[in-house]
C-alpha cells in the first residue's frame, strides 16, 4: 500500500487525520515519523503500533503528535535518566521542599527559595535574540509555577571565539553576531519583566562555533505556606489556560531540541523560533502569583516544551486522574489551526491553573484587572485518560500512563582514560608578565562589563553584591550575586555559576566535580554557605557512545561531589545533541549554586580594600596544568586536570566562612581560569591597588606553575591587619601567607613581575569593548 493511502484525511471530522499504523511497513513507519515531524525511532513507532493494536483502533494525527512530544529526549529524558537516577536524584536533604518544574528549598522557618537552570541552545543558534529571550521567559515560568516570585536571573553562555575572523561553515552565524543577539534578548526580556540579572558567565571556544549554548537560571522566593504543586488537586476540577494566545509559533520546539542542528536548520526550523513577549509575561506573573496568594488555585504548571499536550496530561496524571479538554475554547492567534497544531504549539507566555469551580469567577476578576486572558479549557476526571473534544467530535482518547510513560534507554557508552601527564606537552610561554597580561586579555577572563551593564542588576532593590565590585564605575569582577529577599531580615541568598568545559572535555569525571567545586568556592568567597545546586547538562549526541560516556562520567563527578558536600540538586535540565555538522560542543555541565548568607552585612567582595593588609592563599596548589587557560592560550596539550579533594574543600570552606563571620576578611576571590596570578591581578583591578607577593610558601613548583596552575579549591584572602593573629590561629596550615596589599603595582617576587595596576586594568577591561563596540 502506498504511504498516502495510510492517511485517512478527515477521519474524525476535518482537519483530523487517522493513520493506519497497522498496515504500515517498517519503512512506512519511519516515513510516518518523519512526515509528521515526530522524531521517533523505529522501535518507538513499533511500540506505538502495539499500543493501538491493543486498543483495537488506529491513531489520529493529534495522538501521534502528542506521543512525539511526550517521548522526545527533551520531555522524557530517555537517554539520560538512568544516569541521573544513579548519581543525582538520590541526594536528599531535609531542606528540600519540592522537586517540581523548579526545585524549592527552605530559606528560613517561613520562607523558601526556588531554583532552576535550563538551556535554550538550539533556538538561540538559529535566532539569538528570540531564542535567548524565550529562554528567560521559560525559566521564569518554571519558577512562577511553584508559586514563587522570580527574584534573580543568571545567564551562563558559551560561544565560538568572538575575536577570530576565521571563515565559518555554511549556515553558522558569527559568534559576535550571536553574542550581540543573545545579550540583547536577555536584556530586553529580563529588564522588561523587572527581574535582576545578578550573575552569569561567558565561555569562548572554537568548539562552540555553530553550537552556542544559552543557559538561563532563575531564583524565586515564596512563603512556605504558598508553595504550589505542578498538578491538579484531584478529579472534578477545572483547568484555566491563561496568558498569551496559541498560534503556529513554536511547533515542534522540543523535537527540534532533541536532534542535531543541520546546515539547513536556519530555513527549515522557523516554526521553532519565537521572539517572546515580556509585556504579556509581566502581568501574567503578577496575576498568577496574586491568585496563588489569595489561595484560589490548587496547582499551576507552565506551558513549555510540548505545549498543551504535555501540560494537561502531566498535571492530571501526577494527581492520579485524567482530563477532558475542550479544544475549541483555546484562544487562538490566527484562524485555521489544525487541532494537532493547537495541541502541541509552544506559543510563549502561557500558564495553566487548576482550581475548583467555585473559585473561577474570583480568578477571572484578577486576570481582568491585569488585562490578561484566562479561559477554562478542561475538567479533570477519575479515569487516567485524556480526551479531547473538537467541533463536537472526540478526536483524542489516550491512556496517560502509556502517553507520559515514555521509553527509557540504557544506551551503550564508552569511557576513555584521560591522557593526563603522559600526554603532556608544555607550551612555550612568553615572559611571565606578558603571559599574565595576555591571560587577562583572553575573552574568557577579560571584563564582561559590556554585557553586564546592559542588564538591570538592581531592580527589586534587593541586590547586595553585584557582578562587578569595587568603587563605582571603576570595578573588577565579583564572585557571586547576593540578594536580600526580605527587607525585615538580614538573611541573604547568594548565587554563582561553576563550570569548566575544558577540564570536562579532557577528564569528564574531574570536570563534573570541578563544576561543583567552582560554584561552591564562588559562594564561599562572598561569605555564603553553599546550600543547594541546580544544573544544566549540555552534552552531545547520546547515540554516540563516546558522548554518552562523557555525560555519564561528568554526572558521576558532579553527583559525588554534591553528595559529599550535602548539597541536594532539586532541579535541573539536560540538553543533548549539541552537535553541528563539524563537531560537538565542548561537554558542558553547567552548575548554578545557591548559598545562604546569615547576615548580608558581613558579605565580602573581591576588591582589595586597604594597603598594608596581609594576603593569604587558602588551598593547595599542585602541578595541574591540564585544560588550563595557560595551555589553551599558548598551545600546551594534555597534563593533569585539576582534581577535587572533597574533604579538604569542605574543611576550608567551613574555616573561611567562620573567619568571615568573625569579620577577619577584607576581601576574597577564588582562583579559577588563569590560576593564582589572574586571581590576584583581578583583586588589584577591583581595588585599584597593587600588591607585593612572594610565592615561596607554595613549595617546589616552577614559577609558571605556581602562577597559572588551576588547582581547585583555592581562594586568595585579604585579611584585616588587626585580625591577622586570630586568622592565623583559626586557619593554621590551611592558609599560606603570600604578601601584602598596597602600592601602585603588582609585584611578584622571584618572577620578575612588576606591572602597574593601570596596565592590568587596561589589559582586562578593554578587549571585549573593542570587539563588541
Amino acid at each position: 500500500m502506498p504511504f498516502e493511502d495510510l492517511i485517512n484525511q478527515g477521519g474524525r471530522g476535518a482537519p483530523v487525520a487517522e493513520l493506519d499504523i497497522h498496515a504500515a511497513s517498517e519503512e512506512q513507519l519511519m516515513e510516518m515519523s518523519a512526515e509528521l515531524g515526530l522524531s521517533l525511532s523505529l522501535d518507538e513507532m513499533k511500540s506505538v503500533r502495539e499500543h493501538f493494536a491493543a486498543e483495537g483502533r488506529c491513531p489520529t494525527d493529534i495522538e501521534l503528535q502528542s506521543i512525539g512530544q511526550a517521548w522526545s529526549e527533551h520531555c522524557c529524558y530517555k537517554s539520560s535518566k538512568v544516569h541521573l537516577k544513579e548519581f543525582v536524584f538520590a541526594i536528599d536533604h531535609p531542606d528540600v521542599i519540592a522537586r517540581g518544574d523548579a526545585g524549592v528549598m527552605a530559606f528560613d522557618d517561613e520562607h523558601a527559595y526556588a531554583l532552576r537552570l535550563e538551556s535554550h541552545n538550539h533556538p538561540s543558534a538559529i535566532e539569538p535574540y528570540g531564542g535567548a529571550a524565550t529562554g528567560i521567559g521559560g525559566i521564569l515560568r518554571d519558577v512562577v509555577c511553584m508559586g514563587a516570585q522570580p527574584i534573580a536571573l543568571v545567564d551562563p553562555l558559551c560561544f565560538g571565539p568572538i575575536d577570530s575572523d576565521a571563515p565559518l561553515p555554511p549556515g553558522v552565524k558569527h559568534p559576535r553576531y550571536l553574542v550581540d543577539g543573545v545579550v540583547a534578548g536577555i536584556r530586553d526580556y529580563g529588564n522588561r519583566v523587572g527581574v535582576p540579572t545578578v550573575s552569569g558567565a561567558f565561555f569562548f571556544d572554537e568548539r562552540y562555533t555553530g553550537n552556542c549554548l544559552v543557559n538561563v537560571g532563575c531564583l524565586g522566593f515564596v512563603k512556605r505556606s504558598e508553595v504550589l504543586n505542578n498538578f491538579v488537586g484531584g478529579p472534578g476540577e477545572v483547568l484555566i489556560l491563561c496568558g498569551g494566545r496559541t498560534g503556529r509559533d513554536g511547533i515542534h520546539g522540543v523535537t527540534f531540541a532533541s536532534v542535531e542542528l543541520k546546515e539547513s536548520s536556519e530555513e527549515e526550523d522557523r516554526g521553532a523560533v519565537q521572539l517572546g513577549a515580556p509585556i504579556t509575561k509581566e502581568p501574567l506573573m503578577h496575576a498568577c502569583l496574586e491568585v496563588n496568594r489569595k489561595g484560589l488555585i490548587t496547582g499551576m504548571k507552565d506551558l513549555g516544551g510540548g505545549g498543551l499536550s504535555c501540560v494537561v496530561g502531566e498535571m492530571a496524571l501526577d494527581a492520579g486522574c485524567g482530563a477532558v479538554v475542550d479544544l475549541d475554547r483555546v484562544p487562538l492567534k490566527e484562524e485555521g489551526l489544525a487541532p494537532w497544531e493547537i495541541w502541541v504549539s509552544e506559543s510563549q507566555e502561557r500558564m495553566m491553573l487548576a482550581t475548583t469551580e467555585d473559585k473561577v469567577e474570583e480568578i477571572m476578576d484578577v486576570f481582568r484587572t491585569w488585562d490578561v486572558l484566562a479561559t477554562v479549557v478542561a475538567t479533570t476526571v477519575e479515569e487516567k485518560r485524556t480526551r479531547i473534544r473538537w467541533h463536537g467530535e472526540e478526536i483524542f482518547d489516550m491512556d496517560l500512563d502509556f502517553l507520559t510513560g515514555g521509553p527509557e534507554y540504557c544506551r551503550p557508552y564508552e569511557v576513555s582514560v584521560p591522557a593526563g601527564e603522559a600526554g603532556e606537552k608544555v607550551p612555550e610561554i612568553p615572559a611571565l608578565s606578558d603571559a599574565l597580561l595576555s591571560l587577562l586579555s583572553d575573552p574568557n577572563v577579560a571584563s564582561k562589563e559590556w554585557a553586564i551593564r546592559q542588564y538591570d542588576h538592581d531592580v527589586r532593590a534587593a541586590t547586595v553584591l553585584r557582578p562587578m565590585v569595587g568603587p563605582p564605575n571603576d570595578t573588577g569582577p565579583g564572585d557571586a550575586g547576593v540578594l536580600r529577599p526580605l527587607p525585615e531580615s538580614h538573611r541573604g541568598l547568594a548565587t554563582a555559576v561553576g563550570c569548566n568545559p575544558w577540564f570536562t572535555s579532557e577528564d569528564p569525571y574531574r570536570g563534573g566535580m570541578s563544576a561543583v567545586d567552582e560554584a561552591c568556592r564562588n559562594l564561599v568567597a562572598v561569605g555564603a554557605r553553599p546550600h543547594s545546586l541546580t544544573d544544566c547538562l549540555n552534552f552531545g549526541n547520546p547515540e554516540k557512545p563516546d558522548r554518552l560516556g562523557q555525560f555519564r562520567e561528568a554526572v558521576r563527578g558532579l553527583g559525588e561531589a554534591a553528595a559529599f558536600l550535602g548539597l541536594p540538586i532539586p532541579s535541573g535540565n539536560v540538553s543533548l545533541y549539541n552537535e553541528s555538522p563539524r563537531a560537538g560542543a565542548l561537554p558542558t555541565p553547567m552548575v548554578m549554586g545557591v548559598g545562604i548568607v546569615e547576615d548580608v552585612r558581613k558579605c565580602v567582595s573581591a576588591d582589595l580594600k586597604e594597603a598594608g593588609n596581609p594576603l593569604y592563599v587558602v588551598g593547595e596548589t599542585g602541578r595541574e596544568m591540564g585544560g588550563s587557560l595557560l595551555y589553551r592560550r599558548f598551545g600546551g596539550e594534555g597534563g593533569d586536570v585539576p582534581q577535587v579533594v572533597l574533604e579538604s574543600l569542605k574543611v576550608k570552606m567551613d574555616l573561611l566562612l567562620e573567619a568571615m563571620s568573625e569579620g577577619m576578611v577584607s576581601s576574597c576571590h577564588d582562583c579559577s581560569d588563569g590560576g593564582l596570578a589572574v586571581c590576584i591581578a583581578e583583586m588589584c583591578i577591583g581595588g585599584s591597588m597593587g600588591a607585593s607577593v612572594t610565592l615561596d610558601a607554595l613549595g617546589e613548583l616552577k614559577a609558571a606553575e605556581k602562577l597559572f596552575s588551576e588547582s581547585n579549591g583555592r581562594w586568595v584572602v585579604e585579611v584585616a591587619a588587626e585580625h591577622e593573629e586570630d586568622w592565623q590561629n583559626l586557619m593554621g596550615h590551611h592558609a599560606l601567607w603570600i604578601g601584602v596589599a598596597g602600592g601602585p603595582s603588582l609585584l611578584i617576587g622571584g618572577t620578575g613581575m612588576d606591572i602597574r595596576v593601570e596596565d592590568l586594568k587596561r589589559a582586562w577591561s578593554d578587549p571585549i569593548w573593542e570587539i563588541m563596540g
Binding site: 535574540y129 509559533d249 536556519e266 530555513e267 522557523r270 523560533v273 521572539l275 513577549a277 492567534k333 506559543s347
Partner: protein
C-alpha cells in the same frame, strides 16, 4: 549619490509584540476598526555608491547584519 532606504519586516507568522502592543494602545485611545499594526525597523543609509552597486551593498548589509532570514525579510529602495 544614492540614499538607500532599508526596511526590515517580520515574516508572516512571526509574532510582533511591538506591533501588538502599539495596536492595543491605539485601541485604548479610542481608535476603532484597526485590523493590524505591524512594526518595522527602517534605516536610511548614505553609502557613496550608485544604482545596482548601492542596492547590492545594502542587500549584503541586510544579509550579514541587519536582518535575520529566519524571522525577517528585507527590502531596499534607492531614493
Amino acid at each position: 549619490m544614492a540614499v538607500a532606504e532599508i526596511k526590515i519586516e517580520l515574516k508572516k507568522g512571526v509574532a510582533d509584540p511591538e506591533g501588538q502592543n502599539t495596536k492595543k494602545a491605539l485601541e485604548l485611545l479610542g481608535f476603532e476598526g484597526l485590523r493590524s499594526v505591524r512594526s518595522m525597523k527602517c534605516f536610511q543609509v548614505d553609502i557613496g555608491l550608485e544604482g545596482d552597486e548601492a542596492l547590492e551593498a545594502c542587500q549584503e548589509m541586510c544579509r550579514r547584519l541587519l536582518a535575520n532570514p529566519v524571522i525577517q525579510s528585507y527590502s531596499v529602495e534607492l531614493k
